[in-house]
Symmetry: C2
Subunit: 508 residues, 2 copies
């Protein structure tokens, strides 16, 4: 061994921004995913799984992290020098799939997808470089009925997960309306007709509005003008708009605040975009969505119009939506904060067209599964019913393992989680192991029990309870609470009744 | 649009060796995973999820593809220039996890993991660069009872998936026995005491034996000697052993053929390794495993000893196992072939020690989920009961979408998969859409039906059956088979009874 230490050992560490996920969270996540899947399937979406990575040019670059390495994605080269990237969302791979299989697909094409995505972002608390997304998309339709349906889907999913009406909101806006307001202040936002400077200004304006939650009205206003110095002293250059332009934009993003209904919000925005063809079209679409949502009962309590919604991804072209949790949780310093966004989406009419040149307008909604799981945990709504641990058969004589393993087999055959202690340590270590594993009981058969044709069952849950009430060590030893002997052939029966006693009640 | 075509469009294509997975396969895979999970959990394993990539040095290089780019893995650099690799299995990340969290874990540590792994291999038919593995491992025990348990787990999993006893075999061998045979022919196989040349020869020998399935005895014999030219004319250099050495190795790998029982196989191998301490230890371990397996009924029909089993990965140190399907399927040319390996594993005592220097002997078993799924398909045992498609509410008047969407809502609330047609095309395209989606029925409400307070339900499954028996086009039109009107308020009730009529029977 000594000789080997010269060789440098690798350090056992997680890559930056990554995490391991343990049993309780995995079980809760699986339960969540099953619930979301049920809702998405009830809407008629069918599952599709694309690979974890795609050719980089097929994914495109639509993340807002233009200043990050590889613009926010993880990329590598194949043996033939082509660049590949881990998917940063489920939408870009879907666009590739649709473009590749367009003719054979039913139109509209409706699919859901669940799986991890990867972003080369700066990690932070609760912000990881791998996270799970659950998406639904409808491709090849211009109808905003498909967008309205995404909002209904978002609302239904929240409620299916136990988030009550009033604890969440799906907020809706439109990139077309945003562009209409920009036109209204003299900025042509179109990629094809605007100047390079104007297109850049548009992005700066959108990103400024997107930060409203974090920076407040004043911060956004500064970012629309000359720029803003943050707490760390870093200066972010602004959009360079003049006070009149800023004023009009601030009026726009405040339009939802005073309104009592989605209709009222839309009416006050309408005035701001009436001179823009794009803006008028955007308002018309939102109004059509609103009619559909109201007629099906998805009113203000569940879905509402909110001009401050922007969404980070560059590929959106029409309505955009965000699902937010409106209840408060305590932050690290004990301050109440809103939980915020757990999902979003919108219309992206050009993502498939990028490949084919043919129109394939589309819309989708994506849930951040890991983030939503934290929310459910905060709400106490997470399914923490992980069941009982495994029954451990202790090994009193290592030469007698075949006998113990036969007991385990009998328990397993009866549907009971069971294992023989597989280490090589003594009784004390075995009991410690069973405790650490959360075993409901252990099975003991030493020489004496064997001679009597019996096994001892030690109920660890009952034992822990009893230990709290028994002060006297002598009493403890003499009573041996929660341990009893049964005939060997009654092992399964006896364990079954111990488990039944402790089975967690289903939590609603 | 014309202007834009100058811009080069990306091609919509899958990366080499990758594939998209559709609804039927996803549903079957989920059902399979649920079954495997149940078995693994009944054994007391707990789930763990590690990230998709790790630091390259933490994963180590243990794949047999030494001549592939990056030795068979996909690697890239982080912003701080550290190398990262997509996991090529679930075992190497587990070793990192255990090394990192050793003190807090119960010992032995027992976890299962399911998820994709990636290999930079040459793709071929049925051979992809991303595939799903389902692993169980027991870490921190020297006891081969843990290895015996892995074989039991493998057998139980096969049977739980509907692969009958006799259609599969779990074959067991030991790297220590293999090394013992090598010692017996004058090759010191140890990394610490053997010469570089001897260690290389050992690898060449192991890989030659590993190819027995594909190349037969003659091919292996050639690879143990000077080398072998394959059908394409490529020459593979051999291990360069002399005829006597080759003869002894061939005797060893044939030891299982003539034997009638595992015990007999072990007895005949024993004679070949009696001069090697490592070999004797290997035999002793296999015999102990055999005792445990026999005492619990995992005999020759399910688990057997087979000296030809090697396993590709370099990190194994003791018993190795392979789960094979023994029934025949037809290959591309219609020739019957054995299905072969669907999983395997073994003991790897040094993988955690690599990090910590402390001993943490371990053993595990891994199922190739995708491969096993193909097998179940071939057996007709795959759960193909994917349920009925979605009910489609047709849109007869696009201004009346709120009304149609309200119907959809009512159906969904009753637990029925339903959607409103979300495209913008006419009646003919809508019917074609419903057909393509596999809709069990469509709902139609035009002006007339609305005036009468009715909806039409068109049963597409019944319709398709009727269409086969009706020859006369005129008769078809006059009878309108499988289409009927109901009162609007009886929509849910009527659709429920149509669905009940067509619900697929559960297949056993």
């Amino acid at each position: 061994m000594a000789k080997k230490t010269k060789q440098k050992r690798p350090a056992a560490r997680l890559p930056k921004g990554m995490r391991d996920i343990g049993p309780a969270e995995i079980r809760a996540m699986n339960a969540m995913i099953a619930t979301i899947r049920d809702v998405y399937e009830s809407y008629g979406f069918e599952p599709l799984e694309t690979p974890a990575f795609e050719y980089t040019d097929a994914l495109g670059k639509f993340l807002p992290d233009t200043d990050r390495p590889n613009e926010g994605v993880f990329s590598f080269q194949d043996e033939d020098d082509q660049w590949l990237s881990l998917r940063y969302d489920q939408t870009a791979p879907l666009a590739r799939y649709v473009a590749q299989n367009f003719d054979m697909l039913p139109k509209p094409f409706r699919r859901y997808a669940v799986g991890p995505v990867w972003r080369n972002e700066k990690p932070g608390p609760g912000r990881f470089r791998q996270f799970m997304q659950f998406d639904a998309d409808t491709v090849a339709t211009t109808s905003v009925a498909a967008d309205a349906e995404m909002c209904m889907l978002a609302a239904d999913t929240m409620e299916a997960l136990g988030i009550a009406r009033g604890q969440y909101q799906v907020r809706v806006n439109s990139r077309k309306v945003l562009d209409g307001v920009l036109e209204g202040i003299g900025i042509d936002p179109s990629f094809s007709t605007g100047t390079e400077q104007q297109v850049r200004t548009r992005l700066t304006v959108l990103r400024a509005i997107d930060k409203l939650d974090r920076l407040g009205m004043e911060g956004v206003s500064a970012l629309l003008g000359p720029g803003r110095k943050d707490e760390s002293g870093d200066y972010t250059k602004g959009a360079g708009l003049d006070p009149q332009q800023i004023d009009k934009l601030m009026t726009f993003i405040s339009a939802g605040l005073a309104a009592n209904s989605a209709q009222q919000t839309l009416n006050s925005i309408q005035a701001l975009v009436e001179n823009s063809e794009t803006g008028r079209q955007g308002i018309e679409e939102l109004m059509e969505m609103q009619t559909l949502l109201e007629s099906t009962g998805y009113t203000n309590k569940r879905v509402l119009m909110d001009p401050t919604i922007v969404r980070g991804l560059d590929y959106y072209t029409g309505p955009v939506f965000e699902a937010e949790l409106t209840f408060e949780v305590k932050d690290d310093k004990g301050q109440p904060v809103r939980f915020g966004s757990v999902g979003g989406g919108g219309r992206y009419d050009d993502l498939v067209t990028r490949f084919t040149g043919r129109p394939a307008p589309a819309t989708g909604f994506s849930i951040g599964v890991s983030r939503l799981q934290s929310a459910l945990q905060a709400l106490g709504r997470q399914n923490t019913n992980v069941g009982l641990g495994t029954v451990v058969v202790l090994v009193m004589d290592f030469n007698e393992r075949p006998r113990y393993l036969t007991m385990v087999n009998a328990l397993r055959s009866a549907g009971i989680r069971a294992e023989m202690y597989l280490g090589t340590s003594g009784m004390k270590a075995q009991m410690k192991y069973a405790d650490k594993r959360g075993a409901p009981c252990v099975i003991i058969q030493g020489e004496d029990e064997l001679a009597n044709g019996q096994v001892q069952i030690k109920d660890l849950i009952e034992g822990a309870k009893a230990a709290q009430s028994i002060k006297d060590n002598k009493e403890w030893k003499s009573t041996r609470p929660a341990q009893f002997a049964v005939e060997s052939e009654k092992l399964v029966e006896a364990v079954t009744s111990v488990l039944a006693r402790h089975s967690p009640q289903v939590k609603n």
